[in-house]
């Protein structure tokens, strides 16, 4: 009867369905050498220790040495990493902003849906801008006239040209007079 109970417990143990209490009971049975000899396949049960030993003093250090490997980054790598983080964050924020801005209900929509009407309006707008621009540049016409050579300005140009030539002659004579005086003084 006892033997059957042990067998049943052993089967449950191998299936992994025993409770802690049943395992303790099974160990108790098998602790008896007479019973253990009946179940040679369960010999190892006696060797199983239930108490967990205390870790050694440097256990934590050893564990960390195996599991945790810190890679020291150079300052350049660190800078690169931060730059990338900042750039990525900025991109996400900008993207979000643009998306919300695009989806804004009060965003300006096209006034015209017909391209022909839009084209007429564009021509009208550009002509208005052009007219205003030309009103501003009209005085430039007078400046252009001033830059025209005297010959191109008819009689007035001829007179102006003659006066200019005579003035050049007078300047030349004046220069000659000054040079003669300097020579005489020497």
């Amino acid at each position: 009867m006892e033997q059957e109970k042990i067998k049943e417990l052993l089967d449950k143990f191998y299936e992994g369905t025993t409770s802690e209490e049943e395992e303790a009971r099974l160990k108790e049975y098998l602790a008896d050498p007479a019973v253990a000899s009946l179940f040679p396949e369960a010999e190892y049960m006696a060797a199983v220790r239930t108490a967990v030993p205390e870790p050694s003093a440097d256990f934590i250090n050893k564990l960390e040495a195996v599991t945790h490997r810190e890679k020291k980054m150079t300052s350049r790598e660190e800078m690169m990493r931060y730059s990338m983080t900042i750039a990525a964050t900025a991109v996400i924020l900008i993207g979000t902003y643009l998306l919300f801005d695009y989806l804004r209900p009060d965003r300006m929509r096209d006034t015209f849906s017909d391209p022909e009407i839009a084209m007429a309006e564009v021509r009208n707008i550009l002509t208005t801008v052009s007219q205003n621009m030309n009103t501003g540049t009209e005085p430039l016409g007078s400046i252009r006239v001033m830059s025209i050579t005297p010959e191109a300005m008819g009689e007035f140009g001829k007179l102006n040209s003659a006066v200019g030539k005579n003035l050049d002659k007078l300047r030349y004579l004046n220069g000659l007079n000054t040079t003669t005086k300097t020579t005489n003084n020497k």
Partner: protein, 169 residues
């Protein structure tokens, strides 16, 4: 922890710098759709459609292909009780945000200012601000050619616009 805070601060700063809106955008956002204001918006998508329409005027067609968007905001002068003037509101901000004055036309009816924003030596935006009671703002974005725009009305010869070519480049 310190590094995390630093990352958040730097990211927030870069985001705020990126998201800073142009004064023109702010103005349109503030008054678009409000009572007493009229706005017109022609988007880049519409301009891509316009580029496919054949017109006899090749110069105009070329100009249209280079424009990305046009926005107009104007005040209904009859409803402008508060005396709102876009010139006063917009121009100081434009000067601070990389816009340069191209020209100012003063007439009896009011003042018209042309402001441009250059990117990489090309004119990326032209803003025409009209003062007075019926104040209006026209913003044209794209790769703009002022000489072609100015020659559209045909009231003036090209010679007078040679100065504008220098601005364009």
């Amino acid at each position: 922890m310190k590094k995390l805070v630093l990352i958040i601060i730097v990211s927030a700063l870069s985001l705020s710098a990126f998201c800073q809106k142009s004064p023109v955008d702010e103005l349109f956002e503030r008054y678009d759709g409000k009572d007493g204001f009229t706005s017109v918006y022609i988007s880049s998508k519409m301009f891509s459609l316009l580029a496919r329409i054949d017109t006899e005027d090749a110069e105009f067609q070329n100009l249209v292909t280079r424009i990305k968007s046009i926005r107009i905001l104007s005040i209904d002068s009859a409803k402008n009780v508060s005396g709102l003037n876009f010139s006063n509101e917009l121009l100081p901000k434009l000067n601070r945000t990389g816009f340069e004055e191209l020209m100012t036309v003063r007439e009896e009816s009011g003042e018209v200012r042309f402001m441009i924003r250059e990117v990489g030596g090309r004119i990326a935006e032209l803003v025409m601000v009209t003062g007075g009671r019926g104040s209006s703002v026209v913003s044209i974005r794209g790769d703009l050619d002022l000489k072609t725009i100015a020659s559209l009305s045909g009231s003036m010869g090209i010679e007078e616009l040679e100065g504008l070519e220098k601005v364009e480049k």
